[in-house]
Every structure is written in structure tokens, then in C-alpha cells.
């Protein structure tokens, strides 16, 4: 027998996932323009590997394959991970990461909607912990160094590890802006000296500042479409910028400005696409604020005082663990129970 409500709003999961992917397209375009075809290769590899892993896992678990492979969640995971990867990382790394993220972080926890940790960030984190050298080998954007790899050279490097004769990877490589600032500061270089490097543009790195701006654009589209709660990006960016601002005001020679933090690394990608993952975050409005604020704080601490140049992945994974706890204690007051509520979650 059918039960009420007899009609439902036609917004299937696929549409949601498609729109998220759509919001990433501008950033991917800018990325390809400034860094070459590497990122597209990474995205393709990740997507294929993720979908294949998804299908195998569903098959093994006895679930119908079609509705779950086509729901788009694996694709979004793959894209987010590929966008966090160095675009010229060897092909097997992104494949391994995709398999890990789908098989280990998603299906081992029970599949779509059941995972505790953000699958894309699990894949990324495992790879950066296991292969720190390869994961920090970034090529400089076009036009920064005298030499750079053209698209065919990039393909060859990713798949075979061979470069055109007479060219070493170090000649085209460069650390990311965040990494550069961190290592240079450790060598007691002055901030103004660091920023004189051709790697840096107006507010962030050359190229990367435009990619992050494109993420911001995509994020605003998601906000407009009401696909992500506004509390998360707003709080995350506010806290990241706020903490950075305090440090910057106290000691501008050692701490970069909030603008730099916003437009470097994965800050914008994280704010709109990663921290907003609904499955692994809290669902209450206040909980989302707390969650995003703590991720912002952790990100800053890891970036500035930690061992890794960027901190989004670890900050997100740490806070994923706290999400149910945050939910438990931030239950909003129910209609007709305002004032005397607050304690609903305490008597567990």
C-alpha cells in the first residue's frame, strides 16, 4: 500500500551531485589553463577508479549497482580528491587513493550515507602520509619558471615517469605558496623577501589565487542553489581569516595575511566543497557553526605550526570524529519546547 505524502519534490540525489560537480567546472578550467592537462588526467583517473571500485564493492555487498553508481557521489568524491592532488603525481597514486577512499572510507563503513570520515580526505591523507615526497612535488604554474612541461610532456611524466631529454623535474618544480612561505620562514627569510618570488601573485600564488577564486564562484552557486548550508563556509572562512588576522596584526613579519590564507591551498575548496559534506558533518545549525569554526582553527594551526603545508584534510578528518558528539549537544529547540529544552541530548 502507498502512504502519504503521495507526491514528492523531484530533486533526486543525482541532480544534487550533478550541481556540485557543475560548480567545480570553472575551477577546473582555470586549473587547466594555469597548470596544464595534469589536473584533467588526475580527475579522469580518479573518476574511473572510483566508479570501478564502487561497482565492485556494490557487487560484493550484494547491492544493486545501477542506482548507486549513477547517484554521482563517487564522482564528486573522485573530483574533490583529484583537485587536492598534485596535478603531476604519478598515475598509480590517484588510482590507489581512489580505491582507498571508496572501498575503505565508504563501503567498509556501510556505503553511501554511513561513512564517518570524508572519503576524499581519507584517500588524500593516506597518500600524503605514505608518500610525502611524491605528494609535495608540484610543478610551477606556466610562466613562472623559464622551463615548463607542455601537455604531452605532462602526460608522459604522469604515466611513464619520463621527461623530454635534458630536462630534470626539479627544473620545472616548485613548492606551493603555502609550502614556500613555511619553509622560507623556517630559514629566517623575511616576509617581504618571500613574496618577491615570481611564484606569488597579488594575494596568493600565481594561478592558484585564480583557482581559489573560481572555487569561491562555484561555492556561491551552491549557496544560491541552497545545496550547502551557509553556516559552514561563512564560519570556516571567518575563523580561518580571523585567527590569521590576529596573528598577522601582532607580527606581520612572521604571519601572512588572512587574504593569503583564504586564497591559498585548499581553503576555498574546503570551505564550499569539503567541509560541507553532509554525511560526515553535524546536521544542527549550531553544530555546523561549531564544526566549521573548529576546522578553520585547526587548519590554521596545522598550516602555521604543523608539519604539513596545508591542514584542511587533517582538520576535516579530526572534526569528522567529533560530528556525532557535536550533534548530540546542539539539538535545536523543538516547536513548543523552547526555553525548557537544551537538555534533550544529555540523558543518553
Amino acid at each position: 500500500m502507498n502512504t502519504s505524502p503521495f507526491f514528492i519534490k523531484p530533486t533526486p540525489l543525482q541532480v544534487v551531485m550533478f550541481k556540485v560537480a557543475l560548480a567545480l567546472v570553472p575551477a577546473i578550467a582555470v586549473y587547466t589553463y594555469s597548470f596544464g592537462i595534469g589536473v584533467l588526467v588526475q580527475i579522469t583517473l580518479a573518476t574511473v577508479a572510483a566508479l570501478a571500485t564502487e561497482a565492485v564493492c556494490l557487487k560484493l555487498r550484494g547491492y544493486p549497482i545501477k542506482p548507486f553508481v549513477t547517484d554521482g557521489s563517487a564522482i564528486v568524491t573522485a573530483w574533490l580528491m583529484a583537485l587536492s592532488f598534485p596535478p603531476l603525481a604519478p598515475w598509480w597514486m590517484i588510482v590507489v587513493a581512489a580505491v582507498i577512499s571508496i572501498a575503505l572510507a565508504k563501503h567498509m563503513y556501510g556505503g553511501l550515507g554511513q561513512n564517518t570520515f570524508n572519503p576524499a580526505m581519507v584517500g588524500f591523507a593516506i597518500m600524503i602520509v605514505s608518500f610525502p615526497a611524491q605528494m609535495s612535488r608540484w610543478a610551477a604554474p606556466f610562466g613562472v619558471l623559464p622551463q615548463s612541461l607542455d601537455w604531452s610532456a605532462q602526460l608522459s611524466w604522469i604515466f611513464t615517469g619520463n621527461l623530454p631529454a635534458g630536462l630534470a623535474f626539479d627544473a620545472v618544480a616548485s613548492a606551493t605558496p603555502l609550502d614556500t612561505v613555511k619553509t622560507q620562514l623556517m630559514q629566517h627569510a623575511s616576509m617581504s623577501h618571500i613574496f618577491q618570488s615570481p611564484l606569488f601573485g597579488t594575494i596568493g600564488g600565481v594561478g592558484t589565487e585564480w583557482i581559489t577564486a573560481a572555487y569561491l564562484l562555484g561555492g556561491l552557486y551552491l549557496l544560491w542553489q541552497k545545496l550547502i548550508p551557509w553556516q559552514i563556509p561563512v564560519t570556516f572562512l571567518a575563523v580561518l581569516g580571523g585567527v590569521a588576522g590576529v596573528f598577522h596584526l601582532v607580527d606581520p613579519t612572521h604571519y601572512t595575511s588572512p587574504l593569503f590564507h583564504w586564497f591559498s591551498g585548499a581553503a576555498m575548496l574546503g570551505a564550499f566543497f569539503i567541509v560541507t559534506d553532509p554525511v560526515t558533518g553535524p546536521t544542527t545549525p549550531l553544530g555546523r557553526v561549531i564544526f566549521a569554526a573548529l576546522i578553520g582553527l585547526l587548519t590554521y594551526l596545522i598550516r602555521v605550526f604543523g608539519g604539513y603545508p596545508d591542514g584542511i584534510a587533517f582538520a576535516v578528518l579530526i572534526m569528522n570524529l567529533a560530528a556525532p558528539f557535536i550533534d548530540q549537544y546542539t539539538q535545536p529547540a523543538v516547536f513548543g519546547r523552547k526555553g525548557k529544552q537544551k537538555k534533550a541530548g544529555v540523558q543518553s
Binding site: 500500500m1 519534490k9 553511501l112 535545536p332 523543538v334 516547536f335 513548543g336 534533550a344
Partner: protein, 625 residues
């Protein structure tokens, strides 16, 4: 699409809500039609919250239109009336408009086509006491017609110092339904007359009529009708947002008061009536017409969608035929598409709750896509007008963690379906909530039953203990008496004690007789001993009255009533026996004896057979092994 009634009136939005396709214009274009008088009406007896009404007529009786055929049973109940004149065909369990598809008692009436009324009299409510008004409305079968069918008389005469706000619910927020819209367009004056009665009865200082802005014609009609009112009254146009017609949501919209969970709105000085209910109150009081019909929207996959003033009990099939049902309708929704349910068949009779019947076809209601896992996107929480976290309640319901669900205020859920409507994973969230709720209710019921059984068992043990002790005391006293007589005051102290005991016993016996007499006088049919009313008091003194078999005084009135009925039956039998001649008596005695003997023999035979069978079974088993 249509000109929205755009008038700046203050209202206070509630959280959440959804705006599904309205589908109202299909049925709102034509005036209310008079419904058919079907050949046969199936009138359910359970047409209000609370107790089922008690049938007053017998099979074969001729009834008139408006005649009470079933009376309210207790306070929370309402009477049921014959919708037209005719003959009672049956009083039996039949399918009713309920999602379970189970049977419930209905009175089936074969209409004689004359549609002849009973005498109708205006009720002089201005001079009547509030209790009399309440009883009158109960006997007129007035219940909330918005769908909850809460007996209206229970809402009247609560607060003595008057009401702050009387809210008239004309929001009609569910898609497809237009019966209240049409009622207001065509009968606004009568509705306002009803409002005047209610305002006076409740001493309301202010009346607010809440209408959604997709009913401009109804708003105009109501505005015109309230023109001459001598109290503060206003038509408040609220935005079309489901479920603004939920009582708590509408009260919040109009008064900005949030009715606390588990508290009646009356305690906040607010009372809410559905607009159709107000109309029936007016008809009942000013015209003496009980609730025997209602306006119902017939829409969906039918040739002539519209509203009809249909008799209660009209089989749904007749209504569908009236509206021209299309052949590809596959099932029928009773109520709106958001909160209604599919009826088990078109043979069920229309009840007072039935505001809308939607013929479903796969074109109009495409089959729902398969459920996907919840991704905790929170859309349901954004849509929930009760400000719950539906995804968590779904989780708890699915894993049958009912305690946790209750802790997270499951019972504040109004089952409006907004969460399931917006869910991108197509999860039927409300089904999980309904499931959890009925499981919790059932568990509470069985716990109550267990507690009662425990209490009764403990009382029985206590009673047995006491009886044993009393018997022992009696025996001891008898022995002491004997001893007393034999040893004729050998010991003065002993004698004194014996005398004391005797006196005490006499006192006790006297008291018992007194109690028995009092009880007999008060209630001759509830004897301490079945023969007590026949036994002279003197005899009662001689033989101490035995203890009651069941603790009669412990029983509640209903049970006492039942017992009394049984006793009455016995008394009648006894009287009949006494009226017989000695020969007859002897014959009967012999007959009974024979019967008993036969029964005992049969029982013995049965037992023997059973034993043999068991032995055989055992043997077979042994063989098998």
C-alpha cells in the same frame, strides 16, 4: 496564476514548510453541488476521537433523516445520525475509511428516497447553560471537520475568564482540497453567524480567521460577511505554505504564540476551530440540523472535479460515479495528498473526517522512485514545521531505537509529510515515524496491562492471606469458646478475655450485618453473597457473611455495570424458576442434572480421548525414533 489576495496583514512565520503544486483550480471552478442520495449508506459508528458511539436502533427500524442512530459513549465521543430517511439494514463490522483496512462497526441504511427530516428545532443557546450547550453539540455529532474529528463540545466552556483569541482555521493548506474555499465563497454569512455564536460562548476578545493567499474569493466573501460584527474580528491572509493549516502552525502564524508541547491551546487563551466545523455549529444551533453531511472535494483523475455536499455514509463509489471516475484510476486517496491515506476499497462510507477524495492515476501521481540511503543533507530539518531533526528520528525509527526517538521529541511530529516531500533520497520518513509511534503506544499499552495484572495478582495474594488468617482466627475463637464452656471460669482472667473476645466478635458480626444491609439497601443487585438479599438479617448474624468472591468495591463502574447485568439475568432466571410449579421445577432440576452429567461424561470422554491421542502421539514419536 491567480490574483493573490495581497493585503498587508501582520503574521508571524513558522519554521520550515513546503510549497507543493497546489492543484486547487481543478476543483474550485464550480459551485458546491448537492450530493447524490445513494440507495445504501454505510455510516461508521466511530466518527470522532475517543469512544465509538453506541447504536440506538435495531436492524429493521425505520429512521428519519437527522435521527440519532448512535449516542455518544462517555465524554470524549459524539453522536451519529441518520443521513437520510430509510430502513436499518444491518449493524455490523464493515470496512471503514482507515489506512488499516480493518472492519469497524457501521450502521447500514437503505434509503427510502423520501429524505424525510425529523422535527428540527432551533436551540436557544443564549439562555442555556454551558453544560446544556455542550451536551447539545455532542448529541448533534459536532466534531472537528478539518480531519482530526475532535469532539467540538470539549472545546467549549473551558476558560471562565474568556479567551484572548478565537482562531478560525480556513487555511486549507493541503494541495487539491478546496472544500473550505468553496464553503467560504458560498456560505460566508452562515459561517460568520457560527463565529458569532462561538465568540459569545467562549467570550473571545478577538477573532482571527486565517486564510491562505491562494483563496482571494473566499477572503473577499469572508471580509464582506464580517462587516457588521460588533467584536474585534479580522481575516488574516497568510502566505500559501504547507502546513499553515496545522492548528499549532496557524496559531503561531496569527498570534505568534507557540503552543507548548503537551499543553492545550486554551491554556494560552487561544482556541482553534475549523471553518467547516463553525458552519456545522451554526446549522446545529440555529436550524437544529445534526452533522449528517459535509462538503467534500472530489478531484484527481475524474471527469468533473468539484465539491459536493455529500451525506455522511455515502459509499465512495457513489461519489466517484457522481464526479465521473475515469477508468484508469488505480486507487483513491482519502484526505489530501500530503497526509491522507489510500482507502481499502470504494465500498467504505464517507465519514465526517473525509474532506477530499482524490482518484489516483499513475499519470497524476507517478510511482515514487526507490529509496536511497540518507546522506544527512538536512533538507528535512529545514522543512520540518515542528523544528525536529527528522533524519535523526528516521535513524532511530529504522533501528527500532524507540527510546531515543522519544527523547528527541518524536511525539511532537505532526506527520505533515513535509520532510518526505523534500527528501532527495526519496525516503518515506513519515512511515518510520508512524511505525515508531504505534510501537511506542503498543508497548505502553502492554506495560499498563502488565502493571494492572501485577497489581491484581498481588491483591489476590493479599486477600488469600487475609482469608486464611481470618479463618484461623475464627477457629481459634471457637476453640476458646469450647474451652471456656468446659472449664467454666476456672480462671477469672481467662473468662474475662473470652468474654472480651466474644463481645468483639459480636460487635464485628453486627458491623458486618450493618454493612451488608447498607449495601443491600444501596444496591440490591450487588450482594456480598448472591443470596444475601433473600437471607434474613438474623440468619446473616448467625452465619458470618462470606467474603466477596471478587473485590466488588474495587471494580470500576463499567465493570460493575457488566456484573450487575449478569446478576440481573440470573435473578430473572431465578424468578422464573420460582414461578414454576413443583413438578416443573423437579423436571428442570432433573434436566439440569442430566445435562451436567452428560457434560461431565462428555468432558471425561474428551479428556480420555485426548489422553489416548497424546499416548498415541507419544507412541508414534517413539516409533519414529
Amino acid at each position: 496564476m491567480n490574483a493573490r489576495a495581497a493585503l498587508a496583514v501582520t503574521f508571524f512565520p513558522f519554521h520550515g514548510g513546503v510549497h507543493p503544486q497546489e492543484h486547487k483550480t481543478e476543483s474550485s471552478g464550480t459551485p458546491i453541488a448537492a450530493g447524490p442520495i445513494p440507495a445504501k449508506l454505510v455510516v461508521p459508528l466511530h466518527q470522532s476521537i475517543g469512544n465509538m458511539a453506541k447504536a440506538l436502533v435495531n436492524v429493521g427500524d425505520h429512521v428519519l433523516k437527522g435521527q440519532m442512530i448512535a449516542a455518544a459513549d462517555g465524554t470524549v465521543s459524539a453522536a451519529v445520525h441518520a443521513p437520510t430517511s430509510g430502513r436499518v439494514l444491518s449493524i455490523s463490522p464493515q470496512r471503514v475509511p482507515h489506512p488499516s483496512g480493518l472492519l469497524e462497526h457501521c450502521i447500514t441504511i437503505e434509503s427510502d428516497g423520501e429524505d424525510r427530516w425529523i422535527d428540527r428545532n432551533r436551540f436557544d443557546w443564549r439562555t442555556a447553560e454551558s453544560r446544556a450547550i455542550r451536551d447539545y453539540l455532542r448529541d448533534m455529532g459536532v466534531v472537528g471537520l478539518g480531519g482530526a474529528v475532535f469532539p467540538s463540545h470539549l472545546k467549549i466552556g473551558g476558560a471562565s475568564d474568556g479567551l484572548d483569541t478565537l482562531v478560525i482555521n480556513a487555511a486549507e493548506c493541503e494541495p487539491f482540497i478546496t472544500c473550505d474555499d468553496l464553503l467560504m465563497r458560498e456560505r460566508a454569512v452562515q459561517i460568520v453567524e457560527g463565529i458569532k455564536i462561538l465568540q459569545a460562548l467562549l467570550q473571545a476578545r478577538e477573532v482571527l480567521i486565517g486564510v491562505e493567499d491562494n483563496k482571494p474569493q473566499a477572503v473577499d466573501a469572508m471580509r464582506a460577511a464580517i462587516a457588521g460584527c460588533e467584536f474585534k474580528i479580522d481575516v488574516v491572509v497568510v502566505p500559501t505554505l504547507y502546513p499553515s493549516g496545522g492548528a499549532k502552525q496557524l496559531i503561531k502564524l496569527l498570534t505568534n504564540k507557540e503552543v507548548p508541547s503537551g499543553v492545550r491551546s486554551t491554556d494560552l487563551g487561544v482556541q482553534c476551530f475549523n471553518v467547516a466545523t463553525v458552519y456545522t455549529i451554526y446549522r446545529a444551533i440555529e436550524h437544529g440540523e445534526p452533522v449528517i453531511s459535509r462538503v467534500v472535494t472530489l478531484t484527481g483523475n475524474v471527469e468533473r472535479p468539484g465539491n459536493v455536499d455529500a451525506l455522511i455514509g455515502t459509499p465512495i463509489a457513489d461519489l466517484l460515479a457522481f464526479a465521473g471516475n475515469k477508468p484508469d484510476s488505480d486507487s483513491y486517496i482519502y484526505g489530501g495528498p500530503m497526509m491522507g491515506f489510500e482507502i481499502p476499497g470504494t465500498d467504505v462510507g464517507l465519514s465526517k473526517a473525509g474532506n477530499c477524495i482524490i482518484a489516483k492515476s499513475s499519470g497524476l501521481f507517478p510511482p515514487k522512485p526507490a529509496e536511497m540511503p540518507c546522506i544527512r543533507c538536512g533538507k528535512c530539518a529545514d522543512a520540518c514545521p515542528a523544528e525536529l531533526q527528522p533524519m535523526d528520528l528516521y535513524w532511530f525509527g529504522k533501528s527500532k531505537n524507540f527510546g531515543k526517538a522519544q527523547e528527541r521529541n518524536l511525539f511532537d511530529c505532526i506527520e505533515c509529510g513535509a520532510c518526505a516531500y523534500v527528501c532527495p533520497s526519496n525516503i518515506q520518513l513519515v512511515d518510520y515515524f508512524r511505525f515508531s509511534k504505534s510501537e511506542i503506544w503498543a508497548a505502553e499499552k502492554s506495560k499498563k496491562a502488565a502493571d494492572q495484572a501485577r497489581e491484581r495478582h498481588e491483591f489476590r495474594q493479599f486477600r488469600e492471606e487475609r482469608e486464611k488468617r481470618e479463618k484461623a482466627e475464627r477457629l481459634a475463637a471457637k476453640a476458646a469458646q469450647k474451652h471456656d464452656a468446659a472449664a467454666s471460669s476456672a480462671d477469672p482472667a481467662d473468662a474475662e478475655r473470652a468474654a472480651k473476645i466474644k463481645a468483639a466478635m459480636e460487635r464485628a458480626a453486627a458491623k458486618k450485618v450493618e454493612a451488608a444491609a447498607a449495601q443491600v439497601a444501596a444496591d440490591p443487585l450487588t450482594p456480598l453473597d448472591p443470596d444475601a438479599n433473600a437471607v434474613p438479617v438474623a440468619e446473616a448474624v448467625a452465619a458470618p457473611a462470606p467474603e466477596p468472591v471478587a473485590p466488588v468495591s474495587q471494580l470500576d463502574p463499567e465493570k460493575a455495570e457488566r456484573i450487575r447485568e449478569a446478576m440481573e439475568k440470573r435473578a430473572a432466571e431465578k424468578a422464573a424458576l420460582e414461578a414454576m410449579s413443583p413438578e416443573e421445577k423437579a423436571a428442570r432440576e432433573a434436566e439440569k442434572k442430566a445435562k451436567i452429567e452428560a457434560a461431565m461424561a462428555a468432558a471425561a470422554a474428551k479428556k480420555a480421548a485426548k489422553a489416548a491421542e497424546a499416548a498415541k502421539a507419544q507412541g508414534d514419536q517413539a516409533d519414529g525414533a
